[in-house]
């Protein structure tokens, strides 16, 4: 049964006086898989640490299953756990690393069986790995052991901050599979921050996009940076590689970034798009099916700029859109939203 796992109100995080995250309101339902995407420095890791109760926000309230919660609260200590990006283990054996959290919970009974089960989940042979020291593992194996140590705790929420960024392909696949199994078999809510948006779109029930510490939508948005120019007619634009012009409404500041929702982008295989729209010519490079199997995310290269559009399966079939095809991309400049600095 679905319930509100997290309710965040007026969350602000500042470091050295600089605001790095500001979320007026965010609610996450569970059990579910929630994806977090955004460029480096967008506030993903800060939000993950707040959701993982590793740090309290500078201001604002975090509610966990309806109750205000802070780091070390008994209600969250044994329910929420987080796998960081860096593979890190304590300076002890693999078995002792997995046993640590179990012992804290008083789950000392049948320790060996639970350690073996956890190692099996991440695809490591318990007989070969349980007695190994932390320094006898590769980066990928260490990350899998770190995940095993969390899965052994059967958490209600497992947060994974770019869990596969620093591991090899085989470990990456195993980590992804183990996390999904935890969601399927145990009803664990997964919150995953990753740059791999295709993977996120293929597995997540919800994807949130962060940029400059703000939530800018529930999908991978198109973020276009300046420099912004003004043409002879007084219209603002950015000159793209190849000479095409990306037209925008007047920016509020030079450093403002234009946000164009993928839903606001239309694709057309013909030469011309609808009148009253801005048009760009590009090559459709990728189509990714979303988990609902009703929509696709298309990636179109315009010069060196990658733009995304969200299309229905029917529309893609009807217009015979396929990777490699030259398309006309249309949008109305009025649909562009400006994103400034959080402090600005």
């Amino acid at each position: 049964m679905s319930e509100t796992i997290y309710q965040l109100d007026n969350i602000t995080q500042r470091y050295a006086g600089k605001t790095v995250l500001h979320l007026p309101e965010l609610s996450l339902e569970g059990p579910a898989i929630v994806g977090l995407i955004g460029p480096n420095g967008s506030g993903k890791s800060t939000l993950m640490r707040i959701l993982g109760f590793l740090q309290a926000p500078t201001s604002g309230e975090v509610r966990y299953r309806g109750r205000p919660a802070r780091p070390f609260d008994p209600a969250v200590r044994f329910a929420v756990t987080m796998l960081p990006q860096e593979p890190f283990l304590m300076h002890r054996t693999v078995a002792a690393n997995i046993a640590y959290g179990l012992k804290l919970r008083g789950n000392g009974g049948d320790l060996e069986a639970r350690i073996a089960e956890a190692l099996d989940l991440v695809g490591l042979d318990p007989a070969a790995f349980a007695r190994r020291q932390w320094y006898q593992l590769s980066g990928g194996e260490a990350q899998r052991v770190a995940l095993a140590a969390r899965l052994a705790l059967t958490p209600r929420v497992l947060l994974m901050d770019e869990p596969t960024a620093r591991v090899d392909e085989a470990s990456s696949q195993r980590i992804q599979a183990a996390a999904l199994e935890a969601r399927r078999e145990r009803g664990t809510t997964l919150v995953i921050a990753s740059h791999d948006w295709e993977w996120l779109y293929s597995i997540c029930d919800t994807v949130l996009c962060l940029f400059r510490g703000q939530l800018i939508g529930g999908a991978k948005g198109n973020l276009i940076r300046g420099p912004w120019e003004v043409d002879d007619r007084g219209s603002y634009l950015r000159r793209l590689n190849g000479g095409q012009l990306f037209r925008v409404p007047p920016p509020p500041a030079d450093e403002a970034v234009a946000f164009l929702a993928p839903e606001a982008v239309a694709l057309n295989p013909l030469e011309a798009g609808p009148t009253g729209h801005a048009h760009l010519k590009g090559i459709l490079t990728r189509l990714a099916l979303e988990p609902n199997h009703r929509q696709l995310t298309a990636t179109i290269m315009v010069g060196d700029l990658a733009l995304s559009a969200r299309l229905t399966v029917e529309r893609v079939a009807e217009q015979q859109l396929y990777p490699g095809r030259t398309v006309t991309l249309s949008y109305t400049p009025a649909s562009i939203r400006w994103i400034g600095m959080v402090d600005g």
């Binding site: 640490r49 780091p71 070390f72 860096e86 304590m90 640590y100 969390r150």
Partner: protein, 228 residues
Amino acid sequence: MGYILDGVVTALRLLWQGDPQTFSAIGATLTVSSYSMAASLLMGVPLGFLLGYTEFPGKHQVRLVVDTLLALPTVFIGLLVYALISNRGPLGEMGLLFTLPGIAVGQTLLALPIVVALVATAVESMDPHLRPTLISLGANRRQLLLTSLWEGRHGILAAALTAYGRVMTEVGISMMVGGNIKWQTRTITTAIALETNKGLFGMGIALGIVLLMIAFAVNLSVSFLRRR
């Protein structure tokens, strides 16, 4: 050269025969260094941990003071402690002057900055991922502290070992506060200084060998503990 060889032969004979004077100095040294190490570790490990683990206003200034105290000359500590515990000093009534506990007070002051500074450095060099990992595995504040200490045990051992080496080999405090009284406050180092002045190299070399053996035994124990 001959008198040095004679000294080595005499040293071995003194140790083999269990010379009472030699073993009295060894006993005094082990007693006083045990007191001072226990006191400096009990105070220094928590202080060093706090200094390395937490952020507070004035931390850099505190660190600067602690690092400066690493270079405290033993004769200056001897002078300070002597002034405090002599009959005219504020702690004169405690009767610590020319006693082993008196020397231990001075040696504790010598070892404390070493323990604090090296434990703080060990804690600062711990992997920054340790804290979030322990919290995310469910540790409360006390468990976080204890596990962090355990994870930093090698650095803490190194701090203790360095402080022990300094305490064992100091002369100034033992001489000034202890008075080098035969059978009572004569330690290995003050005995070596005295016997060398008297031209009796045998006992000096014997005590030097003992100092080396103690250092070897301590290092061996630490190395064994590290492997476990």
